[in-house]
Symmetry: C2
Subunit: 244 residues, 2 copies
DNA sequence: GAGTGGTCTAGACCACCGA
DNA sequence: CGGTGGTCTAGACCACTCA
């Protein structure tokens, strides 16, 4: 009841929102333990069951994880590659390889009509473009462009992105923003020339098809903040997304 | 407590399993109302909260849906196309078109090594192959092959598949089987010749890239029963999957 | 108004963890 | 052993739907 009653939201929703804010705000570091369900219940004036319901939803959303008998912990921000995996086509149980990230550059852009609409910006709004290359066993396999509204991330520094935190880590540490995937699209396309050269596909090789991924992500209040575009070479590889 | 105590599973899991079986067994038709939470609680010797938790998980899995103030209903089997959608690349909010299904044929096959492993069958185990074509505004956009273990679906009749129920409807009505996606892979490939001709891509056109989807589905006990392979023409189109 | 799902509580017991 | 998450109950009240 001490939780601010903005609308007439159920109590567990208010608790969930409050905890989301406190997590995004950096009150706890990754892998820090939250107070126990009973402590939170006391503190927030709710019952343990209600707190539990809120926590469960945050666990499901990937912000927290639980260990029976130990406690509830803050999950690390997802890596820049995301929940996806690259593996051998047809093998579903295979343990996937880790991918190496290479930061290529930070530049400025103006939003095309599509992107402006998806990010709820005006036409030609300024964007930051963060370009990254992914390697598997040293060979380039994917090229990523993340497009972010420049105004929301004023002061973004390329040096942060070069570091080990990556883009998502930087957004969380420097801007207190944690993104969640809203929608994702897949498409097969011939690899465009610019992307081909960045991926090291030379003109000698015949044109290659690429898996083209578009992803829209939003912060925890639902404001769309990232348009991610990925060209992925799936020669002898397949792209998997987590399933419920 | 009247629920059969096979293992030492939590009560809500037992309730969930029991209800899953009764739904798959056809005790209720699609859009039939289940007994109320209180009636189920009485009948099964559990509390309303426990029944509610079981029902919630089945709602999340898409087997049931709820309407506040009315009741809990059995959801229709998913269409053969699945939860995916085809829409214009970059437009995330677009209302997708319905696709028309065309049954192409039922044939017999022997499992390749990959497929045998994924479906937990011996090598060269007999399979049924159900081939379907999908059209959008009359134009072919995707070709589906569903591969099922022949032994599990003995007596499958092509006439059932030609009907409006489709494959998933037939599996549910005739075999009491309801499938759930286990894992999904995406890949970009040049369209192979056979698939190209079925999709009406003539030799005059240069080679086209195709989005290639592999999907493994299992029944509600987790036994893998379907290997689905889909070639999808994504010229001016993009493939979307539901997001939590 | 009766019946339904949706929320919330207080209290209980269990299984698991670590000191 | 005490503290944690995980389950379960009984009872309460609310919001919604439909007759």
């Amino acid at each position: 009841m001490t939780v601010g009653t903005l609308k007439r939201q159920p109590l567990y929703v208010q608790v969930r929102q409050l905890l989301m804010q406190r997590i995004a705000g950096g009150e706890w570091q990754a892998h820090d333990a939250l107070p126990s369900e009973w402590e939170l219940a006391d503190e927030l004036g709710a019952s343990q069951g209600t707190v539990r319901k809120a926590l469960s939803e945050l666990v499901e959303a990937g912000l927290l994880y639980r260990q029976q008998g130990r406690g509830t912990y803050v999950a690390a921000a997802p890596g820049d590659w995301g929940e996806a995996r690259l593996l051998t086509p047809g093998l579903f149980m295979e343990q996937p390889d880790e991918l190496a990230r290479e930061f290529l550059g930070l530049s400025r852009f103006n939003a095309s009509e599509d992107i402006a609409e998806a990010l709820q910006l005006r036409r030609l709004a300024p964007l930051l473009r963060i370009r990254q290359l992914w390697r598997r066993h040293g060979a380039p396999v994917a090229l990523d462009d993340a497009l972010l509204p420049a105004e929301a991330f004023d002061g973004m520094d390329a040096r942060w992105l070069r570091g080990s935190a990556g883009l998502y880590g930087t957004l969380q540490q420097r801007f207190g923003v944690r993104l969640q995937v809203v929608s994702e699209q897949f498409r097969a396309e011939m690899l465009p020339r610019e992307e081909a050269s960045l991926l090291g596909v030379t003109g000698m090789v015949a044109d290659v098809p690429a898996l083209c991924l578009l992803r829209l992500s939003a912060d925890m209040d639902g404001r769309p903040l990232e348009w991610r575009q990925r060209y992925c070479l799936t020669h002898q590889l397949a792209y998997t997304v987590k399933h419920g």
